[in-house]
Assembly symmetry: C2
Homo-oligomer: 122 residues x 2
């Protein structure tokens, strides 16, 4: 699958104001095992942005595989990823009612609807 | 410049609830002249997502040129783009104090800080 035809995902969550420094610091050097798991499950071109006035984190990434649900389920079984989530989940507040954490039944991050897309020419 | 080393930009603005239908409709078929102007000014891989509970629009795009400020200034002089903004600006509320509209001195959309980036392998 070409990069331009990849599924594009935008998700949001709240970052607790008390956790901003720690979250920023840990994301400046994400563990290699966590990044390897993303790559193994066809996730790339991944960025997270922060808007402090709304305590908002925005994640944007592409999925280049052909079984998104299956890859997300498999990712949630990766031990290094689980260890990462045990550190980062408590820094966040989900917008989703009933959400208990990353990799659980109710999604932790909230997936948004795409209203516009333009690939353009590199 | 390769796509993976491009500057990545994430911006937010509010979408007035009364304008959701019109905004969605017009963005399903953006005018070719508007898209051509984006391309001419090295903007690509552009998506906009919507989160109704916060009236939030999130734009995410890449800039592959070498003079972002100059390209944005030039884009703001494009007549078709100006005509587009005269339609879409009134549908939005800026988070930026003193903002008067797209292409003016005070930015209309709010640029966010990137806290994480992972390019990965396509």
């Amino acid at each position: 699958m070409s990069l331009s035809s990849a599924k594009r995902i935008c998700q949001i969550i709240e970052l607790k104001p008390s956790a901003v420094d720690e979250y920023t610091k840990i994301h400046a050097a994400v563990w290699p095992g966590v990044l390897a798991a993303l790559e193994r499950h066809h996730i790339l071109d991944y960025s997270i942005h922060h808007y402090p006035p709304l305590n908002l984190l925005i994640a944007n990434f592409k999925y280049t595989g052909d079984d998104y649900a299956g890859d997300m389920k498999a990712l949630a079984t990766d031990e290094e990823t689980q260890r990462w989530w045990r550190i980062t989940d408590p820094m966040q507040e989900s917008f989703n009612e009933g959400a208990q954490g990353s990799g659980k039944d109710v999604p932790w991050w909230t997936d948004l609807d795409e209203v516009f897309r333009f690939d353009g020419q590199p």
